[in-house]
Point group: C2
Chain length 613, copies 2
């Protein structure tokens, strides 16, 4: 009844419609400054969009290869940044746009620095900054980098390279000028050759979109998971693309399209929407400024139709908080006595749970910190990170700061689901030093964390229960029985004790007894695949367990283990059956008490579900 998997998508359909629409445009001319480029079919036209979530949409000649030309510039600039850091690179290549054409020399008259890395002079200087003992080693590193960006090995078109090299006198002149100013420090000619090679790398539209999406995804190729450039340098690569990527069209481009972009003389265009997606377009006909005519039109149309303008962002709102709970309305799987339940209902607001989600940046962490700062009467706080995708440095700092404040005010702060939040853990360890273990309390699972907070609250508000066996009159199931009736039930009891960790009930065993818990704590576990187990409930003295299998005479459906030294009063199934015959009034009372208890628990569970959905 559903569409086939991998069938066409509405997004691909939208792109196909755009492709049809813009196929009608025949303005512009194919670059011919080297003969090889002139061989391109002017009607080639491909579009591809790759999202940071790994969605790929391509139409038209999206697998037609062409030499990437100037599209290589931002990527090689990124490699130079990785090799030398921002300061050193900035000392050699500026970042100011020029009103000049792509092949202008545009060196600063005083320092000789190229104005930016997107003009040829800046690009050649960037290539010169790529580490490598030989020209061969340098181009190998460049090709390796492009393989990470594109997710496949890209080759050099030798014919185009030879043609570039044979006609590249202007670029050789630039190389010598750069050597003259000391921007290039060795023989500039091998660097210029490497530059010709990088321009002659063959890629197709899907490669372009993947490369752009890798920049959008902080340097991680969303299709392969490979890191193509360190995340910290992505903003610099996009920064120069933002102001210098479209030659002297930068202002209008950022105004109209609103994405960092780069075009190449062979007809390729890439555009990057940080965090979201990359676009690659290929159409060889160029306008007077050297940008692909259809490439610009497609990016502009997509920006408008898909609302991709970088400056047009909705407010982040409260989307960072998935759920806020407190222990007055939601509790751990520790089963509580009526007295305990009453205390939690009344004072549980002192325990707050913030379930966080998404990417934590300054502005998302700010909201959490502000809400926490404004809370009153807080005793324990659980910050649950299981649904958090990333935490940046500034957000981690804010979590540290609020932790310190709350800790100083006597609030226990528990972190759950931080196994994968390496940046948070690292910052906490660095900032908290010796107090790290004491202050940065972590729990794998929010359920025991919540129990810990509940216990803390109950310990403060309820008298301590001595760790001895309780009186039989304290069994909730015996409520309402006369002294004689209690004695009758007691005569059926068999006392059994367990060591901490000892198994009381195992999954699959036949049900032989009902258990009254007299001393200690027991937990119910469900075995999961792979040997792990999930806690379903924890019981404390006065409660009964093992009743379900007794009622339906089925094998045990969960395991029960002693958490502490445990004493139980067991009633065997035959004795329980006999009780219905000899003392039906008692049996009826037990069952009524049991039903009522189950009713109440079911109501609470349903209230909790309503809170969570």
């Amino acid at each position: 009844m559903t569409p086939e998997p991998n069938s066409s998508s509405p997004i691909r359909d939208q792109l196909a419609a755009l492709h049809r629409e813009f196929s009608e445009i025949h303005d512009g001319t194919v670059a011919t400054y080297i003969p090889e480029l002139g061989k391109a079919d002017p009607d080639w036209f491909g579009i591809c969009v790759v999202t940071t979530n790994g969605g790929v949409y391509e139409v038209g000649d999206s697998r037609q290869e062409f030499t990437i030309q100037s599209l290589s510039k931002p990527f090689v600039y990124g490699l130079a940044l990785e090799d030398h850091g921002r300061a050193e690179v900035l000392a050699k290549v500026g970042v100011e746009p020029t009103g000049d054409a792509f092949n202008s020399i545009s060196l600063d008259p005083v320092t000789g620095c190229p104005r930016n890395p997107m003009i040829n002079a800046g690009a050649i200087a960037s290539t010169g900054l790529v580490e490598g003992h030989t020209a061969d080693a340098r181009i190998r590193r460049i090709l390796e980098m492009f393989a990470h960006y594109a997710g496949r090995d890209l080759a050099i078109d030798e014919q185009v390279y030879v043609s570039e090299s044979a006609t590249g006198h202007r670029n050789r002149a630039i190389g010598h000028m750069l050597r003259n100013f000391g921007i290039l420090t060795d023989d500039p000619m091998p660097v210029v050759e490497t530059y010709f090679q990088q321009c002659s790398i063959l890629g197709h539209c899907r490669d372009l979109a993947t490369m752009a999406a890798t920049l959008a995804n902080r340097g991680v190729n969303p299709l392969t998971g490979q890191q193509a450039i360190r995340g910290e340098y992505v903003e610099s690569v996009l920064g120069v693309m933002g102001t210098c990527g479209m030659y002297d069209y930068a202002g209008e481009w950022l105004y109209d399209v609103g994405m960092p972009a780069k075009s190449g003389v062979s007809g390729g265009v890439i555009a990057v929407l940080p965090g979201q997606l990359g676009i690659g377009v290929f159409s060889p006909r160029l306008d007077a400024k050297g940008n692909s005519v259809r490439g610009i039109r497609v990016c502009s149309a997509l920006s408008r139709r898909w609302d991709l303008h970088l400056f047009n962002r909705p407010g982040i709102g409260r989307a960072a908080i998935r759920l806020r709970l407190n222990a007055a309305e939601f509790n751990s799987s520790r089963v509580r006595s009526p007295a305990e339940s009453e205390v939690l209902r009344e004072h549980g607001r002192a325990i707050q749970v913030f379930q966080l989600q998404g990417n934590f940046l300054f502005a998302t962490a700010e909201l959490i910190v502000r809400e926490l700062t404004e809370l009153t009467g807080l005793e324990s706080l659980i910050l649950d990170f299981r649904h958090v995708l990333s935490i940046n440095e500034s957000a981690a700092h804010l979590f540290h700061d609020i932790l310190i404040r709350l800790h100083a005010a006597g609030v226990a702060v528990l972190f759950t689901g931080v196994e994968n939040a390496a940046s948070l853990r690292r910052l906490m360890r660095a900032r908290l030093g010796a107090r790290f273990e004491e202050i940065f309390r972590t729990f794998d699972d929010p359920d025991p964390a919540l129990e810990w907070c509940e216990e803390r609250l109950l310990a403060r508000l309820l008298p301590e229960i001595p760790d001895v066996s309780i009186a039989v009159t304290q069994y909730a199931l015996l409520d309402g029985l006369s002294r004689e009736e209690v004695a009758t039930v007691q005569s059926l009891f068999q006392r059994r004790t367990y060591e901490p960790g000892e198994s009381i009930i195992r999954v699959g065993e036949p049900a032989r007894e009902l258990f009254f818990l007299s001393r200690g704590l027991v937990s119910v576990f469900l075995p999961l695949e792979g040997g792990a187990q999930k806690r379903l409930a924890t019981f404390s003295p006065g409660m009964v367990f093992g009743e379900m299998a007794v009622l339906d005479r089925a094998p045990r459906s969960a395991s029960i283990t002693a958490d502490t030294p445990v004493s139980c009063d067991l009633v065997s199934l035959p004795r329980l059956t006999a009780l219905g015959v000899t003392h039906p009034k008692i049996k009826i009372r037990l069952l009524e008490n049991l039903s009522l208890d189950l009713c109440r628990k079911l109501r609470k569970a349903n209230r909790e579900i309503a809170l969570l959905v």
Copy 2:
């Protein structure tokens, strides 16, 4: 035990530390081109940050007023856009950066258009585009706009205005040049006077940050909720700020700070991080380019320390999906018979629930559409929008496209929580036309939506139950009783019928009977404050209700109403009590069946809670 509300925040502390650090910088000089500006205390220094969530953090001289000067330019440009639209404004004022100083004339040699609205010529042209029959009307509209941006009325400093006007010969020359080229169409002198007035508007740091945050929040002041500029023009205002806002420092600014920004000669700087926050800094000492020295340093430091660079965004990941459920693991509050439960457990994956969250843009909707396109065996789909903050046009389009596809494939798509998703509803109505009512199925609440899907599945897989009273042997509570025992219970029954909508049990009534449902559907409601009520459960024939109050002899805690024509068999409390004496074995069996049923429901509820948390 917790910090006082409104006590200092860690974010304010970080700003205070930054303020102390940069107070040490004494570079630069106060502008003196008009005498009034020269009166500023060079040591004034304020910082304010306002988030789109309404957080406000201010330190130093954040309430010291000063004239906003060039900071007025982007806002007035925005008003010109609102008055004339993008195309008409672009025909008169360009958007390309110039390498020239702020007061350069910079008109296009052919068209006479100012290069961009951030230089004086472009700003005066923008002021000329503000609608208003008189100069007075025009400045009133400008002041009204600023009041929306700042959240308070801003005044004009008359002394500064007079001083600007007395010395503004260059700007008058610009005015006449603009008139010469037909960019201004009337007497240019009143426009230049209005321009002097807008530059003389008094604001402080907190105003600047609020204005910046309003741009970050798509034109809605996050502190007052007032719309200061239509959302569609915000990207254009930020676009010119991005490339032209910091005079000839644009490339380095976008590279280093990565936020659209604007500075003014009196020492103010604003920076905007779209979707997140606005920054305002005030410090009158300027560098050679006319930008506040400390202003630039503060923005640069905040960008670095708080990771505010616009091009440095983490991938959006799967944050758009709050929860995915299916009816094999999670069900509506319709209580199911064992046979129905079994069918749902086995086939419930054909019913999928996507709980969405946050802002829906192209890239977030893409993920949902892709997952939906890849699903197989889907019969019904619930898209729950209750946690969605906004849906842009492109996302709404994608939801439309996927709806059409799934509908054509026979999948029922139900939308819940779309009351506030006006844009989605509007687009669906426009695109679906006459089929809108049929195809765009909406439910206020996901619970009845899920029930609807379950009913559809069960109708397909289970034989239809005729709408007649069932046989008493079909009451689940009587399972395991002999024919004679069933007859005994039956002798206690009193038949009662109800019309649809008729009340069966009211909150607060004493519990007098246990109800066996023989025909029809009944729902349990909890009254909420304000007269509304929440459905807790719906029962179908064969089930029992009203047992809890019978067990604990307390007044009814919820209301029960007939959804359809209903027949019930009632057992009064006295008869039920008597049954324990006359036929204890039957009573025990009833209670065992009840306990077992409650046990199973409790387990299912606990499994659902574990899914949801």
